[in-house]
């Protein structure tokens, strides 16, 4: 569904899995059950219609305005499942792996096992850069907050 201007259009999939008495217990009239099969069906329909991407909410346990807890599918697992079950929605021309590691106070010991398992052609670390308290004038002159994203090289 990409437009001639290059704008891409995605669709939002609600992942809320509501209790069977939800509609009666609240002022909202919303679907009561949303299983994997339902979500997958919508995702594949969106793909067939030409949408470029799928968007899902990032909630685990969500309390609505009335204090009632709703269940949500965990978002990163759901995105992985949708990516594995669709052909082209949200796909880039390269295979992409997202890895998170525990690093601080242990150096970079978390990454080698993942890197050796994936054997990436390209690796992009997401990390902060220093604008430390020491040498403030120097750091402020070269690393202004809110100004630019740093690229190491």
């Amino acid at each position: 569904m990409s437009t001639t201007s290059g704008t891409k259009i995605g669709i939002y999939l609600d992942l809320g899995e509501y209790p069977s008495d939800y509609a009666a217990a609240t002022s909202y009239r919303r679907p009561e059950g949303r299983r994997w099969a339902d979500i997958l069906e919508k995702a594949r329909l969106a793909e067939a219609l030409g949408f470029d991407s799928l968007w899902i909410p990032d909630h685990l346990i969500f309390a609505n305005d009335e204090g009632r807890t709703e269940g949500f599918w965990e978002c990163t697992s759901m995105l992985a499942a949708l990516a594995a079950s669709t052909e082209k929605v949200g796909r880039t021309a390269v295979d992409t792996y997202a890895v998170s590691t525990v690093q601080e106070k242990l150096g970079v010991r978390g990454m080698p096992t993942a890197a050796f398992a994936i054997e990436p052609d390209i690796g992009m670390a997401l990390d902060g850069s220093d604008t430390a308290g020491a040498h403030i004038a120097e750091h402020e002159a070269t690393c202004e907050l809110g100004e630019r994203v740093p690229v190491s090289g």
Binding site: Q103, R148, V151, G153
Partner: protein, 91 residues
């Protein structure tokens, strides 16, 4: 570049060209050491570098970042994924 990694020059040039063509504000950085080093050591000629937001008072309980820098980082990462197939990676 940081204490553990020299960013692959072609990858860094590619990222900077993307920033300039897409209007993403950026700056060159000399950092402390990141996961890029482990990726770069996986095998010969694995291209690696680091991107991320400037952090004030890093490694303390009062670390500060600017939301615009987070947004710029996300924008750069997304743009990179959309163009990464254009990189001429040796087989």
């Amino acid at each position: 570049m940081d204490r553990l990694t020299v960013g692959h020059p072609k990858l860094v040039r590619f990222l900077i060209d993307l920033c300039e063509s897409e209007g993403i504000r950026y700056q060159r950085n000399i950092g402390g050491g990141t996961d890029a080093s482990a990726i770069q050591r996986t095998r010969s000629d694995a291209w690696a570098t680091t991107i991320g937001a400037p952090v004030r008072y890093m490694h303390s309980t009062v670390q500060l970042v600017h939301k615009d820098d987070i947004d710029a980082t996300v924008q750069l990462l997304v743009t990179f994924l959309e163009h990464a197939h254009k990189l001429d990676i040796p087989a």
